[in-house]
Symmetry: C2
Subunit: 175 residues, 2 copies
DNA sequence: AAAATACGTCAATAGTGCTGACATAATTTC
DNA sequence: GAAATTATGTCAGCACTATTGACGTATTTT
């Protein structure tokens, strides 16, 4: 008990010395902070928050996904989703259709309005990404993609591949 | 106004077709979600949240920074910071010292306890980054760094350089 | 002396997440 | 066909993080 009235202040900065990659940890924080700030401004106009954005995004990415699937992707609880989803349905951004095979299920689809908003929200983010790719050496796109994917928990990477996302070449004829 | 009782569902997935980089947008979301999940578990043991983590991180990175500077980095309000900072001070993770030049200022320093916790929180994140770098082609570290930095708002990049980070390969001569 | 600054605090509110409990409809199992 | 399970919806209550506005105090600047 040398002194506990006020423990000794440490005056030296923590650095990568300890074998910890603080540089990238911090960059990741700043990058994500600004990455989300773009759509936040648009969302505010609608009285929506980030939760609405995420729901809208995934419903547009996987039209027809069920509530359970959405919960699994977002990693939140049913009750947390309820409020947000209800608002998006009430404002005609998303519609529910009864599942064809299992009529208990509600398949979620975006409306034209919902798709437009999803696009509007993604546009500034995409611009930011595009600019960042150019600034950091254009051709490295694949490197960035691989890195980000490798940051995701292995057992959850399946969620990514569900998306009819990137067929690399960008020409995905029909589906 | 063809039908507004229930707007038409769109059944096709949104893709990069629209010139929007949904692939990376989504990867960024997943990557950050899992990136923050590691420390979240540790924080829960202390009854802390992400806000505590961020404060602890930056106080360790820039010992002696003032409350105003911290607010500027975190981009939150004084009131939001107040409770979190108070808890960290009450639990002896952080100490305040009167500013030497301006005695109104409170310089924030980590204690040994605070430094230890900051390291414990960063360790799993650093491991994840390290693993991701290896999986995605080890030598590309600089590419990832440049990309993440380019994702940050230009006018806020100054915040990054404040850190006595690593003088490795980034030439931040003057800008 | 007055104004501005740095910080602390109190009160009230919003958004997003949580747990637990219960209800309904539909499907599956026995 | 009855019972159990599943998918979803909803209600009530709580926690954390963030917000704005207002006020007080000490200190520095004008």
């Amino acid at each position: 008990m040398t002194s506990h009235a006020a423990a000794e202040p440490i005056r030296t900065a923590i650095t990568d010395e300890d074998g910890i990659d603080f540089a990238i940890i911090e960059l990741f924080f700043f990058a994500y902070r600004d990455f989300t700030s773009d759509p936040d401004q648009i969302l505010a106009e609608y009285g929506f928050g980030r939760a609405h954005h995420r729901v809208l995004h995934f419903v547009n990415r996987r039209p027809g996904l069920t509530v359970a699937e959405l919960l699994d992707v977002l990693k939140i609880t049913k009750q947390s989703l309820a409020r947000v989803l209800k608002q998006l349905i009430d404002t005609d951004h998303i519609v529910q259709l009864q599942g064809p095979r299992d009529r208990r299920q509600r398949e979620l689809y975006p409306t034209a309005k919902g798709r437009a908003l999803a696009l509007a929200l993604a546009r500034p983010q995409s611009r930011r990404i595009h600019a960042a790719l150019e600034d950091s050496g254009a051709t490295e796109r694949a490197v960035i993609e691989r890195f980000l994917e490798a940051m995701v928990n292995p057992e959850l990477r399946a969620q990514i591949d569900i998306v009819p996302a990137k067929m690399s070449g960008k020409n995905h004829g029909d589906h």
